[in-house]
Amino acid sequence: MIREKVRVKKFTIDGICVTGQSNQTILEVARDNGIEIPTMCHLKGLSDVGSCRMCIVEIEGRHEPIPSCTAKIKEGMEVTTSSPKIKAAREMILSMMFSERYHTCSTCVVNGDCQLQSKSVELELSHSFTPYLNQRFEIDASHKNFVNDPNKCILCTRCIRVCDEIEGAHALDLFGRGLGTRVIHDMDEPWADSTSCTSCGKCVYVCPTGALYEKDISEEEIIKKREIVTELVRNRGQK
């Protein structure tokens, strides 16, 4: 295995000079310096997959933008976190998330505490403009405490990653591929019948939308403790 030496690198983000360690990502250094880049599938404490494409940034010399959550920093890099092209792309990607499945905020239990909603405010997206796909999925409410509603899922895979990396149970994975991909327990069995799930609730905590939520709590009382995973990882002394 190649042993990487960790060095301090100097580069610019939006014209501002910043420094970071060579094993850090552009997103990490940006956040360390108070520069905001919108994200969705990223959650500090979990591995990064670069799948939502929300955190894309432009790099001088590269033709196409790349996700900042997975890009390691390089000496002399020139990063641009926002441009008309990136802004338009982020709006379209967020639109796609809304139009992919069935998001009706007024009847959703995480109305007001949903990261899809907060992202729309952040990007100033007033309505989704990509064609609606009108998919409908069955809800799994078998578990005594939690509900899995694939109609609200944006396939960020935070739940799968937290169950695998933090809880270590790997009760969740993906079924199928493409548009019909679903988050499932065990062999697509009802949550209540899962022999792997420890009912720890971490997946519910980290879910950005109402795809996973706690039963018997009203909309006003629901608080998604998403940062609890970040705290947990830090307390354990992991990166």
Partner: protein, 157 residues
């Protein structure tokens, strides 16, 4: 039939052993299991997960990602209509329609008497003899759009 007394599971166990119980041999194991059982039922998948010491959801995720793995039993006979580009412009969709009409099933389904499973493939790699259908293991070349089943219909029982 319990896995202990079913000979097919013994055969599968032998193959898994030959592959060294390696987790990364999952696709090979699934191919072999499908060859033995004809499809990948839940019991078979759970057996494989236990033997390779993999989470259930991981094995299920892999089995459902790839088009070649069948989770439901297939018919005694198989027709695969190639839907690749060359076959498409030569009228593959008309061939598929005719077969769907004749047997009352759509692609991906099996007839109720389990005689025939109908599938489509994205390209079987025989583009110069398009349009092509594969009947069981045989490739049928330059299939007629009017009568695609001419020499195979009588074998489907």
């Amino acid at each position: 039939m319990s896995t202990a007394t079913d000979d097919r599971y013994n055969a599968l166990e032998k193959i898994i052993k030959k592959l060294g119980y390696e987790k990364n041999a999952l696709l090979e194991v699934l191919h072999n299991a499908q060859g033995i059982f004809g499809y990948l039922g839940l019991d078979t998948l759970k057996f494989i997960a236990k033997r390779l010491q993999l989470p259930y959801s991981k094995v299920y995720g892999v089995a459902t990602f790839y088009s070649n793995f069948r989770l439901k039993p297939k018919g005694r006979h198989n027709i695969v209509v190639c839907a690749g580009t060359a076959c498409h412009i030569k009228g593959a969709d008309k061939i598929l329609q005719k077969i769907e009409q004749r047997y009352g099933i759509k692609a991906g389904e099996t007839t109720s008497d389990e005689a025939l499973s109908l599938l489509t493939a994205r390209c079987v790699g025989t583009c110069s003899i398009a349009p092509v259908i594969v009947f069981d293991e045989d490739i049928k070349a330059n299939v007629s759009l009017e009568n695609p089943l001419c020499d195979i219909e009588e074998s489907i029982k």
